[in-house]
Symmetry: C2
Subunit: 467 residues, 2 copies
C-alpha cells in the first residue's frame, strides 16, 4: 500500500486527486507562489479528516489544510511535498440558535452563503472580507480575516466562540466552548489566525450578529488622499465608530468605475466610503457627523445612499475593486500592512514614492478606519524582471509600514510570503515562545510546516543554549 492507496481506500478515487492536472490546480492559492502537492483529498466529515491525518502521519507526509484557495500569502501552498486537505465539502450549517445567536457551521461553508441563509432571520456573520463570495469560514478562521465592517465589529476572532479541531495526532479537540466566558487557557484565540499550523478545524461555532434596524452609506469625494485621511481621523476623534471607513485613491476609483459603473467621482483625488448603522436616530446623527467633518476637510462631493439598491451599488464598487483591476493588467500583487491611523498620510506618501521608483502601476484601496493598507500593484508577470521588482518593492512597503509603528499583515496572514519578515516585529525569544506553543499542538511538525514562523524560531534548541 502507498499513501495514495490508503487514502483511496478511505475516501474512494473521486475524492483523492493526484493526477498531474489536479496537482497543478491545487498547487497555488490566489497568490504568486506555486507549491508541491502530493495529492488533494476532499473529506466530507470530521472523522474522515482525522483518518486522513492518521494515514498521512504514518507516511510522514506534511498536511496543508485548504478552503477555497483565495488566500494571498501562500498559507495553503505546500512547501515540501504535502497532502492538501481541502475542506470545501464540510460546508453545512448544523445548528442555528436564533435566541443565543450562534450557529455551528462547517469550515468549508462560503462566508457569504452563511449570511445569505441567515437573512430571513435578520442575522448575519459580521466578518466580510472582499473575497466573501468565494472564501470559506475555515479560511477566515485560519487568517483571522477582516473586512470593511470589522472596524466596528472586530475581526474574525471576535465572532468565533469555539472550534472543533483535528490535531496533528488525529485526535478531536474542542477549543473554546458553547458556554459563554470559557474558563482556562483561551486556546480558541490562539487557533484563530494560526493558518492551519495547529490542526485542522472541522466545525466552528460562530457568533451571529443582528442586522441593524437602519443603515446609511456615504460616498464622499475629496481633492486628495490627505484630505480623505484627515476626514477619517476627524470622524474617529468625534467619538463615532462607523461600521466602515474605506478609502480608494484616484487610480482605483477610475478602475472601479470603469468596471461597475457605480457613479464614483473619477475627478476626485480620493473617495471615502463610509457606513453607519444603528437605530434611525443613531444613523441620522452619524451621517451628520461624517458630513460635517467631510465638509471641514474640503469634500467636493457627498452622496448619501437613500435606498438598499443604491447602497448595494456603492458597495459593489468597493467589493469589486480587485476584480476591476483584473481588467487593467494580467497579474496583480495585493499588499497588506497596518499602520497607526495617524501615520496613514506619511506612509501612503512613502508607498507612492516606492511605486514610482520601481516604475510600478499602483492602485490603492484600504480600510482607513483601522489603518489597514492594501496597495495593489498591477503588472504583467511575463515582462522580464518584473516579478523581482514587484517583490523588492513589496518588502520596502512592509518596512516603511513597520518603521511607522505598523505591522506585517492586517488580515491576509503571514503564510509563506512574510515569514522571513517576522523578525522585524518579534525578537528571537518572542518567536521561540510562539514556536513552543506550536510544538505543544504538533511536536512532529506535521501541520502546515514552514509557514508563519521563520526557520530556526526554536533558536535556543538549534543553538544548543537552552537555559
Amino acid at each position: 500500500m502507498t499513501l495514495i492507496d490508503e487514502l483511496i481506500a478511505l475516501l474512494g478515487p473521486e475524492r483523492v486527486r493526484h493526477h498531474p492536472l489536479d496537482l497543478l490546480v491545487f498547487s497555488k492559492d490566489a497568490g504568486v507562489t506555486t507549491g508541491d502537492v502530493v495529492a488533494a483529498v476532499l473529506p466530507e466529515t470530521a472523522q474522515e479528516v482525522a483518518a486522513v491525518v492518521r494515514i498521512a502521519r504514518r507516511y510522514e507526509t506534511p498536511i496543508v489544510p485548504r478552503g477555497a484557495g483565495t488566500g494571498l500569502a501562500g498559507g495553503a501552498v505546500p512547501v515540501s511535498p504535502g497532502l492538501l486537505v481541502v475542506l470545501t465539502r464540510l460546508n453545512e450549517i448544523h445548528d442555528v440558535d436564533e435566541v443565543g445567536l450562534t450557529a455551528w457551521v462547517g469550515p468549508g461553508l462560503i462566508n457569504l452563503d452563511l449570511s445569505e441563509r441567515l437573512e430571513p432571520l435578520g442575522l448575519h456573520f459580521a466578518p466580510d472580507p472582499s473575497s466573501q463570495q468565494a472564501c470559506t469560514i475555515g479560511g477566515n478562521v485560519g487568517t483571522n480575516a477582516g473586512g470593511p465592517h470589522c472596524l466596528a465589529d472586530g475581526t474574525t476572532v471576535a465572532h468565533i466562540y469555539a472550534a472543533e479541531m483535528v490535531t496533528a495526532t488525529g485526535e478531536m479537540v474542542t477549543v473554546g466552548s458553547e458556554a459563554p466566558d470559557q474558563p482556562g487557557l483561551d486556546l480558541r484565540a490562539v487557533v484563530v489566525g494560526s493558518e492551519g499550523t495547529l490542526g485542522i478545524v472541522t466545525r466552528v461555532l460562530v457568533r451571529l450578529t443582528q442586522n441593524a434596524p437602519d443603515v446609511a452609506t456615504l460616498l464622499i469625494g475629496f481633492p486628495t488622499i490627505e484630505a480623505a485621511a484627515a476626514a477619517v481621523s476627524g470622524v474617529i476623534a468625534s467619538g463615532l465608530i462607523p461600521a466602515a471607513l474605506e478609502i480608494m485613491d484616484q487610480p482605483m476609483v477610475k478602475a472601479v468605475e470603469n468596471f461597475v459603473h457605480a457613479g464614483y467621482p473619477t475627478a476626485a483625488g480620493a473617495v471615502l466610503l463610509a457606513e453607519v448603522t444603528g437605530t434611525a436616530d443613531t444613523v441620522a446623527s452619524g451621517v451628520d457627523v461624517i458630513r460635517s467633518v467631510s465638509e471641514t476637510n474640503d469634500a467636493i462631493e457627498i452622496r448619501v445612499a437613500t435606498d438598499a439598491d443604491e447602497r448595494a451599488l456603492l458597495w459593489k464598487g468597493r467589493k469589486g475593486a480587485f476584480g476591476a483591476v483584473a481588467q487593467a493588467a494580467p497579474d496583480y500583487y495585493l499588499h497588506d500592512t497596518v499602520v497607526p491611523r495617524t501615520a496613514l498620510v506619511e506612509v501612503m506618501t512613502k508607498i507612492y514614492e516606492i511605486g514610482d521608483r520601481y516604475e510600478l502601476q499602483m492602485l490603492n484601496v484600504f480600510h482607513a478606519g483601522d489603518g489597514n493598507l492594501h496597495p495593489l500593484v498591477a503588472f504583467d508577470a511575463k515582462e522580464p524582471g518584473m516579478l523581482d521588482r514587484v517583490q523588492e518593492a513589496a518588502t520596502e512597503m512592509v518596512r516603511v509600514s513597520i518603521d511607522a509603528g505598523g505591522s506585517l499583515s492586517g488580515e491576509h496572514g503571514i503564510g509563506l510570503e512574510k515569514r522571513g519578515l517576522m523578525n522585524l516585529v518579534f525578537s528571537d525569544i518572542d518567536l521561540d515562545a510562539q514556536a513552543r506553543v506550536r510544538e505543544a499542538f504538533d511536536d512532529a511538525g506535521m501541520m502546515n510546516p514552514h509557514k508563519v514562523l521563520p526557520e530556526g524560531s526554536r533558536c535556543f534548541d538549534a543553538k544548543g543554549v537552552r537555559l
Copy 2:
C-alpha cells in the same frame, strides 16, 4: 546561602518578607483558602522579577505572582510551599499615547488609579471590576477581569494590546505587539486569563477608551426578578447594547440601601441599573428604549440620573454591594457563574432553591446583560459545619449553571476553587491540549502550579498511552 539569603542579597531585607506575621498576611487572597508561603518578595523592576525567578528556579521553589490579593478563587494562594512575587511596586504609568490611545503601565497599578490619572485627558481604562479601587491591572490581566461596563466594552482581553512577561526560565518575552494586528500566534490572548500560570507579566500595553460625550444612568424597580430579567432580554432584543445592565435582588437592594442610602427602592422585588453612553442623541434614544421596555415589563419605578452626582450615587450602591454585605454577616462567599441570558430566570430560580435547601442567607447582584451571575452567601464561618454547607451549595450552583448551557466562571477565574470542576466543561483531550500549551511556557511546573487545570490534565502522558 539559602533561598531567603539570596533573595535578600538581591532585594534587601525590607523587600523580602518571611516573618511569621508576614507569611500569615500573604497566605490568603480575598477568598476562603489559606496557602503555604515561603516568603513574599516585592520587586520594583522587571529585571528584579527575572532575577527572583532564576533564584527560585535553582531552589526548585514554585512561584506565585500576586497583585492586590483581591482575587476570590485562590489564584494567588500557593498550594505547595511557594514564593509569592508581589507586584504592587511595579505601578508606574510609563507612556501615554494620547493619539494612539494606549499606555504602557506596570502590573501593580491599581485599576481605578489608571482611570483617575487619565481623567484630564478625557480617557479611561474600560474594564471596571467591582474591586477597582483596590485590584491591579496585573490581576485584571491574570483573570481576564470583567465589570459592569464590559457588556458593551468587552472584558480585559479586549483592552490589552501587549504584555512584557518574565518566563519560568527568567527570560523576558513580549506577547502581542505595539503595532496593531499582531501577526503570528496570538499569545497575548492566551496569556490574558492564564492566572499567572504562564509567566509573570511585568508591563502591560493597555488600550485607552475615550470618555463618552454623554451618559445616562437609569435605576428601575421591578416587582420580581423575572420581570427585571425579561426587561434585560427585551432591551437586548431591541438591538441596543447599553454600557451596563445590572440586576440586584431585594435582599441585596435592602443591604445596599442600608449601607449607602442611594435611594434604591427597597419595596421592589428587583432593581435594574442600566447605563447608556454616546452622543446626546444616542443616549436620549437609548433611554427611551429602556424606559419603554421597562414599562412593558411592569416597572414600578423608573429613575433617570440627571447629573453626575446622582449617577455617582446610583453606581455607589452597585459598586458598594459587597461592602454592604460585610455589615450583614462576618463572612461571605461570592459565586461567579455564567448562563445564557435566556436561562437567567430558570437558573436564578434553582439557585434560590439551593440556597433555601442549605438554609443559607443569599443576596444576588449580577451582570444581567451578559448572564454573569454572582450569588452571594453571607454566613458566619465560626458556625459548625457552615463552611461545608456553603461549599456544597456552591458546587450545586455551578452545576445548575452548566446544565443550563453556562460556564464555570465569568471573571473571577478558576484558581484553586474550581479546578476540580474543569472536567464539567472540558474533555480529557481538551484539558490535555491546555496543559501542553502551559508546558510550552513552563515545562518545569514553576509558575503557579496546581492552579486552573486539574491534576492529571496531561492524561496521555500519565496513562502512558501517547499516540
